[in-house]
């Protein structure tokens, strides 16, 4: 143990700042692997610089693959900042995927990046000051909807705390974030403001349009279908459950798919954006109408009488709903003569899931 502590383990006594410092980033002799690679590369650095200069000279070529260029620029900037902070003496490139494995034996496990402070602030700014909805911000910045919601909630609490004069654990945050890979935010990138084009995987914080696994789709299903029939996603959803929406309607950002489709049909970026915004407006209008109808319906059926300690909510129902035999489940009240649901044959009484 002491051999390791005094030998290869010595580097961990003074951990490298702004790095994850995982074991797998060092070789057996305790040398930083990516620093060695950087040394090798620095010999051909002069050529690289020349290439970069050429790239910057012709913006037309960049436009075609603006996302990749963006990603590359971000990475370059991050590297430059890191180098500046350390001075030129010890140049260490940013962590590659191999350096983000906390468990050397488990090569499949990678440390996932967390939101940087700038990105969190930007999310909150766009929702609060910009008045954008959570879904749009999620699409713009490549952060999952749930995470955007969480950021907004927590930042709201933070603002309240600042107002109340509560002390925040900023040093703790700085220390933790310096040890974790983070997703940076680049305000100058044009893609950061487009809600109709998903960010490149290198720029996005995480995949945002994953299809959530619905419990109804879990069982294995064999549905015989004639060869001549066109079996769509809608049919597949109906096969699982009558009320299940098709996969393309259950993804968090269907508008991104529509945008791609519009783009493929030859629309310009501006047209696509207008069209998608129009679609969104229509969707919101539909939802609002449905909500209004639901409220009206409820107001028609519900009457609230204020009591001293609680309210009494009267709902007007129909006696006829129990059906002719009085056993229909749509009816109200105890169904005389019908067995308890939990007394039926084959009902498992032990709870099989929590919550």
């Amino acid at each position: 143990m002491y051999a390791w502590l005094n030998g290869p383990g010595q580097v961990f006594h003074d951990p490298l700042p702004n790095s994850t410092n995982y074991l797998s980033a060092y070789d057996k002799a305790g040398r930083l692997i990516r620093a060695q690679d950087a040394n090798e590369k620095s010999r051909s650095k002069a050529e690289q610089d020349k290439e970069e200069a050429e790239n910057e000279e012709d913006p037309d070529a960049q436009e075609a693959s603006s996302e990749e260029a963006d990603a590359a620029r971000l990475r370059r900037e991050a590297r430059r900042q890191e180098q500046e902070s350390k001075g030129d003496g010890n140049k260490v490139s940013s962590e590659s995927m191999e350096d983000l494995r906390p468990f050397p034996q488990n090569t499949q496990f990678m440390s996932q990046p967390v939101l940087s402070v700038e990105l969190r602030d930007e999310i909150f700014r766009r929702v609060k000051d910009g008045g954008l909805d959570v879904r749009t911000v999620s699409a713009q910045l490549g952060v999952a909807i749930e995470r955007v919601g969480a950021v907004v909630r927590l930042k709201t609490i933070e603002e309240e705390w600042i107002k109340q004069g509560k002390k925040r654990a900023t040093p703790y945050q700085t220390a933790i974030l310096s040890m974790l890979p983070t997703t940076p935010f680049d305000a100058t990138s044009p893609i950061s403001t487009s809600s109709t084009r998903s960010r490149a995987p290198t720029l996005a914080h995480e995949p945002i349009n994953d299809l959530p696994v619905h419990p109804a789709t879990r069982p294995q299903l064999f549905v015989p279908v004639s060869e001549s029939r066109v079996f769509t996603r809608t049919d597949a959803a109906a096969a699982f459950s009558a009320s299940l929406l098709p996969a393309h309607a259950r993804i968090p950002h269907p508008q991104l798919v529509h945008a791609e489709r519009y783009r493929a049909s030859g629309m310009t970026d501006r047209e696509v954006r207008e069209r998608v915004e129009e679609d969104e407006r229509e969707r919101e209008e539909r939802e609002r109408e449905r909500e209004v109808r639901r409220r009206e319906d409820e107001a028609r059926r519900m009457r609230v009488v204020q009591g001293r300690r609680w309210d009494f909510r009267f709902e007007d129902v129909r006696v006829e709903d129990v059906g002719r035999d009085g056993l229909s489940e749509r009816g109200v009240g105890w169904r005389y003569g019908a067995p308890h649901d939990d007394r039926k044959r084959g009902k498992v009484k032990i709870p099989t899931r929590v919550g």
Partner: protein
Amino acid sequence: MVVRIRLARFGKRHQPIYNIVVANARTARNSKPLEVLGTYDPIPKQSASGEGRKYKDIKVDISRAKYWLGVGAQPSDPAWRLMAMLGLIEPKYRPGGMQQGREMHEQPIHVQESVQDRAHVAQA
């Protein structure tokens, strides 16, 4: 036999749920009634957001309740309270207690009297 609007207790221990039923007065509490008007959940619930006042859920077919009152069904005291909240009959007991007698004398109680009168007729 008198037809009553009354509550029939169902549910489990510590989880009562009442059927508001129309039944002949002399039948057993949980026997099959003439009609189930609705349900009354006596346990106050907090709204899903966890804020605001608590509430009790009551489901009742108001038009059928009106009909049964109109043909002389007599509500039991708890059922009377619920029907009175809906404004179908005059309240028997006021929420504040005490003042009920005076107010009831001041205001002629049309519905209540008519209901009781009809019930007397039915009994006779």
